[in-house]
Symmetry: none
Subunit: 366 residues, 2 copies
DNA sequence: AAGTGTTGCTAAAAACTTTCGAAACGCCCG
DNA sequence: CGGGCGTTTCGAAAGTTTTTAGCAACACTT
């Protein structure tokens, strides 16, 4: 084994060291030769493993592959074009605490990959026309992450023709299948929220979701509907309202629902912000949460924990979604193939104190 | 052996030292050539490192970057007039809803001025060393806004010598007077909050502020103290606690305060997040807000309005602070003189439902 | 015009692939 | 049982591609 080490060390460092003299020659990228030395085989053999050549014994192959894996070996090269070290994160409105969670995830990835994250906000009805894509190009972006945005053919075309990689998070409309996207299991989340309320004994459960033309709104309501149907509770379209995911919308829709002749005993709010709107409407009417009204949110913003009462909500891993999207964008930028074009991170029901068994008196009215 | 010395020493000492002879050779601004000599590479190679060109070996790049950092290298060609249309917004941690408010202000300005905003987060105790400034330079930023950051001479020096304009928002420590800064009238806010509580009849008023080494923490507490003194109420150091501006700190400090033998009837929380921590502590102890405990926050985050009960707080115009800072940065970038080097936007007390007249029973004990 | 920094080009070195032959192994038949 | 023969496995060496760094010419600012 001694001679093996000699063999590789010579080639690798001999030249460099001589030239550089006393200088440090640290941090070498893991190279085939290094792997070979460690595995106790020759360099060509490692090369064969990497390229799936047939003439390697299974046991040898396994050993080398394990080392390869361990060293996170990536074949040198493939960094074709020069990177600017800047990616753009485009929100559809920056007014939600929601956004900052995503941003955190993306920024974290950026920090680890020496990449800056430029944040911008483009509202749908914005005065600024479609030219925002050219603005992106003007500062030489490496790639774009679009959040909750409605994608137009035109914009996609612009990005594509500029050769700018794109990943979308929670797209409003279904993106063309070739666009990588990241989302959460909205349907499952809606289902979990509804089943939780059903299991507490609620039967008259209302839902306030986001704008009707958002995919994630629909998915959440669909989960809600499935939950009801599976429990044999009739789905009542009159108990479904479309908000805007914001506090105001939640408040306004909650007011409508609470003024219904047969008031619901629980509201699935479709976003934490809307849930707080429901809180406000309930407070205005002197209804106590959860005694008189159970509320479930969606998102798990940090404030959900601190609300009074703490909000039962469906956790959406926002920061993780951000870093997952950034991760995918990174792969695209480096021209590596994507493992999957669609990533869905799972949601999780978090039960706190805003949900409880409904008051008997009110239920009896059926 | 002969050629070894040739490689590194030739240029460096043969040239410089001989020419200068007995003279001091320190004065010279560090130039690429000097770095190159020291690193034992050629000048163009250093240039490539500076510009993030891909054709430099990782080990070489690391060595050169280290030297660059050490020498506080700054490009010689005075101010670059070609603008990149990119400014950097650097937070000290991105975990607060606070941050997104500032971001909104800056982004708004950016949108109006065709400038992208790159967001990053550098924590004080961060593993990444001083080299974040060079990261900024590498993507060719037009200017930097630092938020709630502790400024070191070194960092300032790096930015200054790179000719990158800088504006700070709410600096932790007092910046050198020539650095433009934006803040709020923290002292007046603390005063207003305290006077409000006093006018309701509270006499035992506690304060939870931010970290003791933050200027804005001190100013707020100082306003609180002045309010007490003007009203003839003795200032009790035992009622002042230092949190972290976050929810957790507010909770922990509130627990301490509420467990005091003589419990305060009101708490000035120094930030909205901390105020919610106080809410939680109060809830745990079965204290009702505002009947048993009045709470005043600071910031006026959007959630303050939606909390239960809605939070009385001191509004800090965060978004305006962001756009004011961006505005100033814009002037600096265009080499226009600044109207003022220090902008203080005014705070405003917003009375909601978390403050009330203290319960008589408890006060009588005084 | 001098000082500084940038960039295309080229040569070299390094990293990786491929070819090919030798050793090791096993199998069959004499 | 042992030697010929084919097969498998691996490495030496030669070939190929990619990376790296310096040269020299160019660009920009005083």
């Amino acid at each position: 084994m001694r001679h093996q080490e000699d063999g590789t060390a010579r080639q690798q460092q001999g030249g460099t060291a001589r030239r550089r003299d006393g200088q440090r020659l640290l941090e070498r990228r893991t190279t085939l030769a290094a792997i070979a030395a460690e595995a106790g085989v020759s360099l060509p053999t490692v090369s064969k493993v990497v390229n799936g050549r047939p003439d390697v014994a299974p046991s040898t192959r396994a050993r080398v592959e394990q080392l390869l894996d361990q060293h996170q070996y990536a074949r040198s090269g493939l960094r074709r074009h020069r990177r600017s070290g800047l990616v753009d994160l485009v929100f559809n409105g920056l007014d939600s605490p929601w956004a900052v969670e995503i941003l955190r995830g993306v920024e974290e990835w950026g920090a680890q990959h020496e990449t800056a994250v430029a944040v911008s906000s483009v509202r749908h009805g914005d005065a600024r026309p479609a030219s925002w894509t050219s603005a992106l190009a003007s500062h030489d972006t490496d790639g774009v992450i679009l959040v909750t945005t409605r994608l137009t053919e035109r914009q996609l075309g612009q990005l594509r023709s500029a050769g700018i990689p794109l990943v979308v998070i929670d797209p409003a409309n279904a993106p063309p299948p070739e666009i990588p996207s990241v989302g959460a299991t909205n349907w499952a989340g809606g289902l979990a929220a509804t089943e939780h309320l059903l299991s507490l004994g609620h039967r008259r459960i209302a839902a306030i979701t986001g704008p009707i033309d958002y995919l994630c709104s629909l998915a959440r309501v669909d989960g809600y509907r499935s939950g009801l149907e599976r429990a044999g509770v009739r789905f009542d379209q009159g108990l479904v309202r479309y908000g805007d995911f914001q506090h105001e919308g939640g408040f306004a829709r909650a007011v409508e629902l609470l003024d219904l002749p047969q008031r619901p005993t629980a509201i699935f709010a479709g976003s934490d912000q809307q849930a707080f709107g429901v809180y406000e409407a309930a407070r205005q009417r002197g209804l106590r949460i959860p005694e008189d009204l159970s509320v479930v949110g969606f998102d798990e913003l940090p404030v959900a924990r601190w609300a009074s009462p703490p909000l039962t909500t469906v956790r959406q891993p926002l920061a993780e979604m951000g870093s997952a999207a950034a991760q995918m964008l990174g792969e695209l930028i480096e021209d590596r193939p994507l493992r999957s074009n669609r990533v869905e991170l799972s949601t999780e029901l978090i039960v706190r104190e805003s949900t409880a068994v409904p008051a008997k008196s009110r239920e009896s009215g059926k």
